[in-house]
């Protein structure tokens, strides 16, 4: 077995969570630049800033507006995720988030839930159109990228950072290259270690970002916080974004279908703590 190479690492808080970047054979400065990338993308994708690119789209009242290359790619991938998940991964979730009381960063506390105003989510392709350099959102629809943006950013960041790197943005991670020992990057999943090489992992859960009986994971079929009998799913897939989509879909499918769905779409998976609902 070849000797392990030294790992550079950089840890920081961004996107409302903890982020870690690791590299083999790249200078520490590169990881610092990676943090700047995360902050720059986060500032464009957040719904909590009125000046963000996402907030401009949410406030565009049904008009076509110009968007940047990264937002366009993000929205196109979100539409693909909608198709791939049979509609269960739907970023047109802002109204339900607001109804559940998730109106501002949870570090500032939730607001009162008004679930009577929650409705099943609209089909994403019916309310969101994307063209080269532009997007149009139905005036009564709103987008929240929180459920998919971290995985998407981890994939992009890894491609940018270098050939042997790992980016972990709040648990959504992408491992690129052979890792420190040339046998993959050792990553914890459900309490065991798996060696990832050009693979991503993500966890979807209703145990975090939770307040009272509410939590952040919305079931698009009801528009309400999901209660499917599965509390947490961790998945390994070809990319972090794909892992996030598969994990969220499996959680929303519930206990009966989740194992079969994971067997068909994940490279490794952990189903945690199902309960009766």
């Amino acid at each position: 077995m070849p000797p392990e190479s030294a790992i550079e690492s950089h840890h920081f808080e961004a996107l409302g969570t903890s982020c870690s970047l690791f590299s083999v054979g790249r200078p520490y400065d590169r990881l610092m630049e990676g943090e700047l990338c995360v902050r720059r993308l986060g500032a464009r994708f957040t719904r909590f800033s009125a000046e963000s690119e996402l907030s401009r789209l949410n406030a565009s009242a049904g008009r076509w507006i110009a968007i940047g290359e990264e937002m366009e790619a993000m929205l196109r991938d979100a539409l693909r995720a909608y198709e791939k998940s049979g509609g269960l991964v739907n970023i047109a979730v802002l109204g339900s988030m607001m109804a559940a009381g998730y109106t501002r960063p949870l570090s500032q506390g939730p607001t009162v839930a008004v679930l009577e105003s929650a409705r099943p989510l609209p089909a994403l392709p019916d309310v969101l159109q994307v063209r080269d350099g532009g997007a149009r959102l139905h005036p009564r629809a709103g987008l929240d990228l929180g459920g998919v943006a971290k995985g998407w950013m981890a994939d992009r960041l890894c491609a940018w950072l270098g050939p042997n790197v790992l980016a972990n943005l709040g648990g959504d991670l992408m491992a690129r290259g052979d890792g420190p020992g040339c046998d993959g990057w050792p990553v914890g999943l459900g309490g065991v270690t798996v060696m990832l090489r050009d693979q991503g992992a993500a966890t979807s859960s209703v145990r975090r970002r939770k307040w009272g009986a509410m939590h952040h994971l919305i079931d698009p079929r009801s528009g309400l916080p999901a209660r499917t009998g599965v509390e947490e799913v961790s998945v390994v897939a070809a990319t972090s974004f794909e892992a996030e989509v598969v994990a969220k879909t499996a959680l929303l499918l519930g206990r009966e279908a989740a194992p079969t769905y994971c067997a068909a779409h994940a490279l490794a998976w952990w189903l945690g703590g199902s309960r009766d609902d």
Partner: protein
């Protein structure tokens, strides 16, 4: 007469081949040694299962379990 005999023979061969094929296919719905198994048909037997805290980790053939300390983990945030 000869043409009628040939037609009857061809018909008989066709019927026998159809019935035999149907019987074979219906009794061999899934070949366990086939190289391309749809993983959804094999949900419980695909990969190795490792019992972990609060659940079971299932690891498919393209992911290798490790025995070193992880540098980081996937988790809910």
């Amino acid at each position: 007469m000869r043409a009628l005999f040939l037609k009857a023979g061809a018909t008989a061969i066709t019927v026998v081949a159809t019935v035999a094929s149907a019987l074979y296919v219906s009794s061999h719905l899934k070949n366990p040694s086939a190289p391309l198994q749809p993983s959804v048909l094999n949900a419980n037997g695909n990969g190795s299962a490792v019992t972990a805290l609060g659940g079971t980790v299932t690891v498919g053939p393209s992911v290798r379990p490790g025995n070193t300390q992880p540098v980081t983990s996937t988790y809910a945030s």
